[in-house]
């Protein structure tokens, strides 16, 4: 079952949210400056710059490590694995980001900007959901385990 938990928000300190916001703002400004100076073809690359991922992975590692250490255990591995899982999730999210970019590239000229950008955001959510579901369901692993079971029964 899918549920929403807001405990992660309470765990974060205010400066951590400011840091993420500031990094996003700096990259937004940089993308705009580069697009103006060098051209939109180059500036557009930075619309998918991993600034937020870099910040969030380190914060996730810190929170998980501190949680373990509060219980008297060494938290380095736990923190590292949590950050790795966070990055794996971002890899899934980037598939949605590719779909977002294609949608905007193809439909923005000649259509309502607000609707296209809103539609692209919705598409990102849908594609991310599909990718996550496929990863969770993992049809290849199920096929492999079904065929292993079949071989065992035949023996």
């Amino acid at each position: 079952m899918i549920s929403v938990s807001t405990s992660g928000i309470k765990r974060g300190k205010w400066w951590e949210y400011v840091l993420r916001f500031a990094l996003g703002g700096v990259v937004t400004a940089l993308a705009g400056v580069l697009a103006k100076k060098i051209g939109p073809g180059f500036g557009g690359l930075f619309l998918a710059f991993p600034a937020i991922l870099a910040a969030s992975s380190t914060l996730v590692e810190k929170h998980e490590r501190e949680r373990k250490e509060r219980k008297g255990m060494h938290g380095f591995d736990r923190g590292r694995h949590a950050a790795g899982a966070d990055a794996a999730g971002a890899a899934m999210g980037s598939v949605g980001l590719i779909a977002f970019a294609v949608f905007v590239w193809k439909l923005l000229p000649g259509h309502s900007s607000g609707l296209v950008i809103a539609g692209a955001t919705l598409l990102w959510i849908i594609v991310c959901g599909v990718v996550w579901f496929v990863w969770k369901w993992n049809p290849l692993r199920r096929l492999r385990s079904n065929s292993d079971e079949k071989k065992l029964r035949e023996k």
Binding site: G24, V27, T28, A31, G32, A35, G39, P40, G41, F42, G43, G44, L45, F46, L47, A48, F49, P50, A51, I52, L53, A54, S56, S57, T58, V60, E61, D77, G79, R80, H81, A83, G84, A85, D86, A87, A88, G89, A90, A91, M92, G93, S94, G96, L97, I98, F100, A101, V102, V104, W105, L108, P109, S113, I117, A120, T121, W124, C128, W132
Partner: protein
């Protein structure tokens, strides 16, 4: 997944459409495809290294940015021909 949310893209594209027009923003979105492919490669490599080796996430994510630049720059250069 929200580490790859289109938050930067939403802000930048919105501002670009107002200041430079739709075609300019569409060209940025075209290049964003390359950036997003590089982001996929970056996130996959960072995840692999963090899950299998004992490096801190700060070091891996920062050094991984070099990888993102290399992939994005290389693909953009090839695409520009």
């Amino acid at each position: 997944m929200f580490g790859a949310a289109p938050s930067i893209a939403l802000a930048t594209l919105g501002l670009t459409v107002v200041k430079e027009g739709q075609q300019f923003a569409a060209t940025e979105a075209h290049s964003m495809i390359v950036g997003a492919i590089a982001l996929f490669a970056y996130a996959a490599v960072v995840s692999y290294v963090l899950l299998r080796f004992k490096f801190s996430s700060l070091a891996v994510t920062l050094l991984g940015l070099i990888f993102w630049f290399a992939v994005a720059g290389g693909l953009w250069y090839v695409m520009s021909f």
